[in-house]
Symmetry: D2
Subunit: 361 residues, 4 copies
Amino acid sequence: MSGNTFGSLFAVTNFGESHGPAIGCVIDGCPPGMALAESDIQPDLDRRRPGTSKFVTQRNEADTVEILSGVYEGRTTGTPICLLIRNTDQRSKDYGDIVQTFRPGHADYTYWRKYGIRDPRGGGRSSARLTAPTVAAGAVAKKWLYEKYGTIFRGCMTQVGELPIGFEDWAHVESNPFFAPLADVSAIEDYMNVLRKSGDSCGARLRVMAEKVPVGLGEPLYDRLDADIGKAMMGLNAVKGVEIGDGFASVAHKGSMHGDSLTAGGGFASNHDGGVLGGISTGQNLEVAIAIKPTSSILVPRESLNTSGQPVDVITKGRHDPCVGIRATPIAQALLALVVMEHALRHRAQCGDVPVPAGFE
Amino acid sequence: MSGNTFGSLFAVTNFGESHGPAIGCVIDGCPPGMALAESDIQPDLDRRRPGTSKFVTQRNEADTVEILSGVYEGRTTGTPICLLIRNTDQRSKDYGDIVQTFRPGHADYTYWRKYGIRDPRGGGRSSARLTAPTVAAGAVAKKWLYEKYGTIFRGCMTQVGELPIGFEDWAHVESNPFFAPLADVSAIEDYMNVLRKSGDSCGARLRVMAEKVPVGLGEPLYDRLDADIGKAMMGLNAVKGVEIGDGFASVAHKGSMHGDSLTAGGGFASNHDGGVLGGISTGQNLEVAIAIKPTSSILVPRESLNTSGQPVDVITKGRHDPCVGIRATPIAQALLALVVMEHALRHRAQCGDVPVPAGFE
Amino acid sequence: MSGNTFGSLFAVTNFGESHGPAIGCVIDGCPPGMALAESDIQPDLDRRRPGTSKFVTQRNEADTVEILSGVYEGRTTGTPICLLIRNTDQRSKDYGDIVQTFRPGHADYTYWRKYGIRDPRGGGRSSARLTAPTVAAGAVAKKWLYEKYGTIFRGCMTQVGELPIGFEDWAHVESNPFFAPLADVSAIEDYMNVLRKSGDSCGARLRVMAEKVPVGLGEPLYDRLDADIGKAMMGLNAVKGVEIGDGFASVAHKGSMHGDSLTAGGGFASNHDGGVLGGISTGQNLEVAIAIKPTSSILVPRESLNTSGQPVDVITKGRHDPCVGIRATPIAQALLALVVMEHALRHRAQCGDVPVPAGFE
Amino acid sequence: MSGNTFGSLFAVTNFGESHGPAIGCVIDGCPPGMALAESDIQPDLDRRRPGTSKFVTQRNEADTVEILSGVYEGRTTGTPICLLIRNTDQRSKDYGDIVQTFRPGHADYTYWRKYGIRDPRGGGRSSARLTAPTVAAGAVAKKWLYEKYGTIFRGCMTQVGELPIGFEDWAHVESNPFFAPLADVSAIEDYMNVLRKSGDSCGARLRVMAEKVPVGLGEPLYDRLDADIGKAMMGLNAVKGVEIGDGFASVAHKGSMHGDSLTAGGGFASNHDGGVLGGISTGQNLEVAIAIKPTSSILVPRESLNTSGQPVDVITKGRHDPCVGIRATPIAQALLALVVMEHALRHRAQCGDVPVPAGFE
């Protein structure tokens, strides 16, 4: 209830601070009997982890995950799975100068006002480092969904700052540090190099999608599939906008053009609605887009206040991502997987296995 | 858990179908001792109700609300408040032809596949009529928040179909059927008249905001204030996109320009982040925008399937809104109020009354 | 969260006051496709309702239930089921003298201190009248469990005041107003007649059980099946003790005698544990006993305080049960059904259909 | 939802297995600003830990707790507190012979049937070892409640097997290994010595209480304070009965004797109801009693089945408590503290600080 648990049936409780001894999560509700080892989770953490290119923060964390519970002889037992990641490269002194200063665009001020106290080391709890346990939990959800339904989650960057990124092929996404679906990312590299030298930061636009999502997931009225996607994505650090299907372009659409016609066998002629109708999955691909604001930690000096309410100038040194959107792709995929997983279990609870009607196989 | 309850501490459980005997909700968790009568709720229902202009559905529902519990001698007692709205203008025969047909863009197909059964009368549970109890509950939340903090919720239409709507003054919003902040809405009327004659529908873009929101609301990591706004808005019928603050425009921003600088006394020099930092309210106005897709019920014939999987042509007669976005403004305001109310109670639970620090009064 | 919802997956939200216009509940999460009509629910309400013998309160309520939602053409649709029961025999003037007085043993004082306000009419929200919606919801759960697993719920009185009640046959339970498993209840009638004339009240002990409960229900560590039975029963008005299996007699047991040995096919040689091991159902009968305290509303004068803190003498007139335990049997059965239903859905969510192992059919 | 989280606002998520690498919990919702260190938690763990006398299991675990998150410079920050306890004295080979055998009275069979898989090492998840994280979380709750309200939790053994234990003084409880309120425990030692030599086990009866509980805690209708106490206690390993106040003795009471009269200033003349009326705390001491069944792990051979459904004889070797009730006292105190803590936060959420009325200070 205090906001650190994602989901109810596949419930992921996240803990830790950027510069504390460890971060991690407890997954409660994972179905029993699934093969699971650290090696199923580590690759997703490696996709998200810092220090992998010069375009992301140089903090060096291996993000090695340890399974503390819930797995016996290589299989999930149905009991809580605790995943622990030790912090190893804390440099709290980097942050000494922000203990009594609020960095513009950061959560420094709001945490301090909310709780009356805050852990300033590297942003404490508000650091994007806390997305690592989310990614780890998402890896478990993805594995179960793939084995059960064949569901696959994909994601890519579609714009960085003012630079649009075209789509060539999903295969390229893992071959460059930007998760760009392009063979040649030199334009992105050039853009980022200029940005880094200026000491400034930029935003990004990402696309996330899921294939082979079962029909029927989502709990209207309020816990609709799209609602929970909206929550998951808007809750990711620095996200300021979420679209499903055609998103904001739908405003200018006519109904005669927008509505996706059903075709033989339960297919669809188009996917303007992004795989959700009435809050329930249609069986089409889930299509989601998110807007990520520019990193708030920059070298450019800005005006702010200190904890005494006095004006100060702030420069954020330390190790930071010039575009937090770059590492957000695997996180957004994990979040989408957690949403689908939760709704898969909810659907099974209420409806059991609803038979596929004749003509819709 | 089955998705019909909004919130946990100010928990609104919604029930009913478009053409059943009644719709309504139960509010559990309303603080005791607040003066409350039907007359506090009815005005918001009247703003949302159908039949008030030729630009919305001609279904004639008074939407009269009855308080069945939770109020004694005009004051809330802290026990559940049941709000009942009888349906009075059901015309189920209007919908006879869609019993075995899936209307493109509607929830017909997904409800049928999810549950193996669906109530086809007026869309049943998936009808936008079920937003009425949400609006009623929102009126209760709004009253408490206003009395406690002075919080005010506003909303307006900013685009209808391809037609952008400028902003003149909030005062105009209640003076025209479109919730447009304009003195002269003749251009919107002309646009809608052409649309209605074509038998087609269009989308809309709305702005919703809240003033005088206390600092410190929101429960990171996952139940952030912005996350719950994302969920509430994306869960509203026909919404396909949500933005907070600068939204998708943030993608092309630089960090040096985007970060909102703090000014003396805890004010801010700008509001690019829309009143939320790190998932917690800053005390600035909450600024939200939503994209609403065109109404799926249109007279233009479209291809679809029936429940036997056979191809059919669908024309949706009956009484429908040519732009569901028109009546969505009061609903989106109510949803924003429910989110703020929930987080106000959550914050009080964990943090009590955190004192305002010196220099930030 | 404010305590008026029972269960999460089969979530029953209860509303109403003893002398308000109506009481009722919303059931969210009922599986779709089950035949359901008022006639499936009314018999259980009739078993609980007042005025059926001279040994219970003479308030005359038909307790007629109306299904407001969630059922289409006689079948559940998977959407919320609102059950409404209008109050018809309110006599608020009976309670005028307790508006400013706290009746000993009642919730008058605690509601007033908790909320700063209370509805004094007939106990308001704290009245046992609010068990009617629980019974109605339990009828829905019982029907689903019976159709799915053949589960049957039984209950009877085993002691009234100082008078122990032997067990002859379940068949007798519905043939007398005490839910006693006896052919001849004249001893109970005599006991109650003496009690009524004295203006006093007495307690009762009840037994509740369930047959054909599937193996595997219950969610350890905390949401164990026995834990949730403990909560449901201890939460019933006037209950002061709960036992499962041998209950308090287990204290003096030896392990060599207490542990239930498994027998061929997954049966058991005894049932000291009452059908639960490690918080999970064994497939044996669930066996529960509860202690109900004497009715607090009595004609015998007692010392108390008024809302100004001044000493007063209290006599509770009005219409009351001399032994609230008499009508508690159907309520306790309903509560047990709600617990089993909730865990049946939870189990299905996490574990799906775990195959029955060879040798345990 | 899968049952490993206790509470909603002070939410304790428990993880681990008896012979896995570690056990622990995450506390979400702890109010910020409270001084907290391992030394505040360790004493309660030490009271519960094994190996401290010859009357409990000889497993040697230091149960050293490590705070992994949620505390900064010695104060809680309002973010999740992860408490980790490494297992150090696993001897899994002790349990090799029960991998394919169901011990009567244990959860072996039910876990296996529920999940289709179980961790047999020391009972895996069903081991009483998993009460250690509960005790650790309870220590945090106790500290906050004491600092806020002066609330104190006490507990003692009142019967072991057939031997009743009189009450002399709370001061004696910490001076003997049985938590008996007696200066001279030689009778208990004699009883236990005979029992241990016989290779058998026995049950126990405990009393738990809380002093200085604020008036007004508890959320009726369903989440009553007594209901949640019932759940917490019945959910503790081996508990088969729970009483509040006079418990089962209430059955034979008359109303004229049972109802607790209010006295000047909001006191009471008696406490038959154990500190709860209508599900809400009265401000009197909470008085709870629990029945604990005999340990199921005994040397006496018993009949059972193996996983192939074949009859086998079972003798449980390894290290076990001859009376699990002995170490249950600190656990039951912790559980009561967690219940009170949860309701203290819930009450604050809905009702804020209800002023104490004149005459009731």
